[in-house]
């Protein structure tokens, strides 16, 4: 059971290393947010000053890398449905639920690798303040990567084609990102938005990253406790994965694939 899972993970890493543009974007996107938007909003944000807001944003952009990295890798499953690899996977001697587990692990791994590259860049730029907790950071990266990959697998298990990929970007990734504590403290949001953010599992990932990468400034701290963050992330990951596994074990999940293979003959 483990060799196939490992094979799927290795393929995902190989693909990431070959798609230079994807790697470059994974690094550039958070840096643009941090250096451009961070500076802009920092200037508006008077009390703690520019540097403080940028420092507040550091865990947010690390989370962003995990979110985009894991979601794009997990949504690659939909791409695989159309371009052949899924045929190899569904014919492998594994229960189909294992495909979800393998893809989830692969997506989380690929996301964590991208976050580590970003963290190295942030350290080189001097944005990693002293007081970072390495063990907590590792746990936060892993828990957030898995939760983001689980969101991605959930979407992938239920979407039929890549055509709605743009829709997924607009209606899943962006709301998940904006309705979280990535850019602003959840406590400071108006009640409606705060409720939405608190229903968003990714919010707890960012909060956990903020525990691990403390900004130091008063008024821009964390929103929840470490225990609550970890519990929410773990619970969400387990439930979303179980649902995606269930969906993948049903024939309906593979209907587009079957239909395409039956197009010429039948």
């Amino acid at each position: 059971m483990l060799r196939p899972v490992y094979a799927v993970m290795e393929r995902e890493v190989l693909r990431l290393l070959r798609q230079r543009a994807r790697l470059a974007a994974a690094l550039a996107r958070p840096l643009v947010w941090l250096l451009v938007i961070g500076a802009g909003f920092g200037a508006l944000y008077d009390p703690a000053g520019r540097a403080a807001y940028q420092q507040f944003l550091v865990p947010g952009v690390v989370g962003m890398t995990l979110l985009f990295g894991a979601m794009l890798a997990a949504l690659g499953t939909v791409h695989d449905k159309e371009f052949g690899v899924m045929r190899m996977l569904v014919m492998a001697p594994l229960p189909h639920a294992w495909i979800v587990i393998a893809k989830l692990l692969a997506a989380a791994l690929v996301a964590a690798l991208q976050a580590l590259v970003l963290l190295a860049a942030l350290a080189a730029l001097g944005y990693l303040a002293a007081g970072a907790a390495p063990l907590l950071l590792a746990a936060a990266l892993a828990a957030t990567a898995f939760a983001c990959a689980a969101i991605g697998m959930l979407v992938a298990a239920f979407s039929r084609t890549l055509e709605n990929f743009a829709a997924v970007m607009n209606f899943v990734i962006f709301p998940v990102f904006f309705l979280s504590g990535s850019l602003y403290p959840v406590q400071a949001l108006p009640a409606g938005l705060r409720a939405a953010a608190m229903l968003n599992p990714y919010t707890y990932g960012v909060d956990l990253l903020r525990h691990a990468l403390p900004a130091g400034a008063a008024g821009l701290g964390t929103d929840f406790g470490i225990g609550r963050d970890l519990a929410v992330l773990a619970l969400f990951t387990v439930c979303a994965t179980a649902l995606a596994c269930w969906r993948f074990s049903r024939e309906a999940a593979h209907e587009p694939l079957v239909r395409r293979l039956a197009r010429k003959g039948a």
């Binding site: 190899m88 014919m91 001697p93 039956a262 010429k264």
Partner: protein, 310 residues
């Protein structure tokens, strides 16, 4: 090795496969033949556990497709109409990925990869990406991918569809080599009937049902010793005129075909009788295409000869 009883797949009102019975012994080279839309692919999809039967049962390599799909998948190789390859990976990497999905150890994968690259003429392309391969080589790689774990049964769904003649010949050569080397049971579908001549046994299916089955040679011999073709301007009256002597004809718009049981002398007499009335008169050996056309013609009031001849 493959046995199906009453295997049925229903999509809403449509019966894609209607109570199919099949028996394929170990080591056989079995052809499932029929026009587009006859249910061949759906049958292969059920036997390879990609879809679940609506009714009936099937055992492949001793395992029930419904209750033990994972065990069935471990024992079979499947090559679909479209490649199951990762286009971004190289030839070698595709074979390695497939081998690991079957849980093969690294040394075994290396050994099998070398064997298959040699057998399928892909040795020089091992580092090329699958996307860069020609259609024929990609199909060859897809078949190599399907047999890396030495399956007991290999399902090939239209293995030569979309390929030109030299590539089609190459694919058949590879499959023959594979059978000689491993004794694998092969179940294939095709609508190029001339390609099914080498099968030990074929089953013609139409609208999801087996309408004729047997060894290709026996089917051909049972049809008629010769096929008589008549070309002319006005085929319908000609068919009516010749029917008492020659029996029913197939009219494909270009010519009439009769099952000819007569002697050379009968043919000579016919030639003199019809001189001037027809454009051409030809006697030839029957083939699987004729079997297929006659099977269809006798099962339906209006013979769909043109559609079936594609």
């Amino acid at each position: 090795m493959v046995a199906a009883r009453g295997l049925t797949k229903r999509y809403g009102e449509v019966l894609a496969v209607d109570a199919l019975d099949l028996d394929v012994p170990a080591g056989a080279f079995f052809g499932l033949l029929g026009p587009n839309g006859s249910g061949k692919t759906t049958a292969i999809h059920m036997l390879s556990t990609l879809i679940r039967p609506s009714a009936g049962e099937a055992r492949v390599a001793g395992h029930d497709v419904r209750r033990e799909p994972v065990a069935v998948r471990r024992a079979i190789g499947v090559v679909f109409q479209e490649p199951a390859l990762d286009r971004s990976l190289s030839v070698e990497e595709n074979l390695r990925l497939a081998g690991r999905l079957y849980g093969l150890p690294a040394a075994e994968i290396r050994r099998r990869t070398e064997e298959l690259l040699a057998l399928f003429g892909l040795g020089a392309r091992r580092r090329q990406s699958a996307a860069a391969l020609s259609g024929g080589l990609r199909r060859a790689l897809d078949i190599a991918r399907g047999v890396i774990h030495r399956p007991q049964v290999l399902f090939l769904d239209e293995p030569t569809i979309g390929l030109d003649v030299p590539n089609r010949r190459a694919i058949w050569r590879y499959i023959a080599g594979l059978r000689a080397e491993t004794g694998v049971t092969v179940v294939l579908t095709t609508h190029y009937l001339e390609e099914a001549d080498d099968c030990d046994r074929v089953a013609f299916i139409r609208a999801g049902r087996v309408v004729a089955s047997g060894a290709p040679r026996a089917l051909v011999e049972n049809l008629a010793p010769r096929i008589l073709e008549v070309e002319g301007a006005d085929l319908e009256p000609l068919a009516l005129r010749l029917a008492p002597k020659l029996g029913p004809a197939l009219n494909d718009g270009q010519r009439l075909s009769f099952c000819f049981h007569g002697s050379a002398a009968d043919f000579g007499a016919l030639q003199s009788e019809l001189a001037g009335a027809v454009e051409a008169l030809r006697l030839r050996r029957p083939n699987l295409n004729d079997v297929f056309l006659w099977v269809n013609a006798t099962q339906t009031p209006a013979p769909p000869a043109r559609a079936a001849a594609r």
